[in-house]
Amino acid sequence: MSENHQHTHIVPLSVYYTIFAALLVGTALTVWVAYIDLGALNTVVALAIACTKATLVVLYFMHVKYASKLTWAVVSGSVFWLLILLALTFNDYLTRHLLTYG
């Protein structure tokens, strides 16, 4: 009830066009960079581009930039819980070669 803000925020079409262009550029970029040998950085760059694209979609196409704090909390909560899953599992896999028992 506290988040009873103006419900409909109409995003100007020009914003949509800009984001759309950025997403296409990002796609081209990620394909192009995939063929360049950056060593371990290839994965990092690919994920960074994907995260940037996803963030643009979330912020503008899904209107989170204009949304309530609650929506922000929900979005960041989902990312946080995904990180818990990945972090604590990798904590096992990345240290397993060091010492195991049982």
Partner: protein
Amino acid sequence: MASTAPIAPLPTLPKKHYLNDGTTVASWLLTRDHKRIALLYLVAVTVFFVIGGLFAVLVRLELATPAGDLLSDDSYNKVFTMHGVMMVFFFLIPAIPGTLGNFLIPIMIGAKDLAFPKLNLASWYIFMIGATFGTYSVLNGGLDTGWTFYTPFSTVASTSAVVPAALGVFINGFSSILTGLNFIVTIHRMRAPGMTWFRLPLFVWSHYATSLIMVLGTPVLAITVVLVAAERIFSFGIFDANRGGDPVLFQHLFWFYSHPAVYIMVLPAMGVMSELVAASCRKPVFGYTFVAFASLAIAIIGFFVWGHHMFVAGQSVYAALIFSILSFLVAVPSAVKVFNWTATMYKGAVSWQTPTLYAIGFIGLFTIGGLTGLFLSSVGLDIHLTDTYFIVAHFHYIMVGGTIMGYLGGIHFWWPKMTGRMYNELLAKISAALIFFGFNLTFFPQFVVGYLGMPRRYHAYPPEFQMLNVLSSAGASILAVGYALPLSYLIYSLKYGKVAGNNPWGAVGLEWTTTSPPPTANFEETPLVTWDAYEYPARVEGHVA
């Protein structure tokens, strides 16, 4: 403030209420009223509790003698598996949220219904479809993997009905997710004017925390059982060590949900507890804010500890170390709750009604369950105790001593609100006592026999363990009588029980301000909340007036 006595001299049932607003079968099966859907859940989970209980009877009968004489080893595997699957997925997880949560959350926050009434009904149907698959797998040869579906046994070795059971669990997960989603949106968006977050009853807080786990954890279980089913149907090799897969990955995914699922089961019972303790002592819950945030802390920290189920599964020592430390941490908010309930009771004018008995039983049993959990968080001790009866005793103290005590206490506390009538108090007290003693006699010996080294999940055992097992089986028969009693006197009370009146306990809370049973829209007009939760004893008279 009118000085009406808390119990009106001759209360009568309201003329029009949710139970007589439509009497056809369709008015029940197509209802969108959260109160009727709660009763649909009540009937359904009772059925699955009885089925799960029958499997428990078989287990205890088999273990009365050391020889594996009653059931073959294969049948025994199926019997304890089906006991676990039925109880965990089709009773413990939906029991309190589905019945009490559904019934009470909208009323407690002053709303007309949950945010998505159609979705709520859909949750029940999805639950029933999932349970049908579960029951189908029972009738169709049974499941023998244990309720945990461990790979690689479940994916390459078991010849039992793994896919239907997994499908049942998967579908049931959707029901759980939709219920959690509905509660979260309802608690955020549907609160009555003046009902701020810190005026919410702790029952609502604990259901909010529960819903967070349902929403964040259940989808991981869903993808896990999808992978298991895919392994079986398509013979993929994701969890097959022979083909480069890792069975331990299954355990990570499974316990990411299934450890927090323990809190899905016990947090709602903790919410019930806060209400019962306050009402039976007529005191505000000690440290309201701490109890509220303890619920959230349990929900969040509960996601960091799953690896303590895998100390001997071959995970790295460093992972075990971290999981062990984090597991000790989750005991803190649980302890905060226990201390606060006891502090609430301290110098309270305790009224010895049936719900009070369940509340006190819960505190004792949950404390034992929680403290033995600390044994298991410590890696060294856990290696000795893993897969022994100590584990079985520990989680039954949480699941039965916690969740079922909370569930039954809550049913007894809100029964007059749900039905408008009182049950036989004497029988109820006898049954509460039988359950408490029967439960302890069943499960306390299992701590001992487990510590002595008796492994779980075998149909035969060395003769020196017989004494303790006979005690356990004897306790189980007392427990069974204790569970059968409420079924009879509660049903009897539906027709012949004394009319309860709006507030038979003299309790505070919005649910006690409306009629018993409540009208379909819950309140004559939307309440305006100007008081905190648990304003005992000052507000009691004001509420009844």
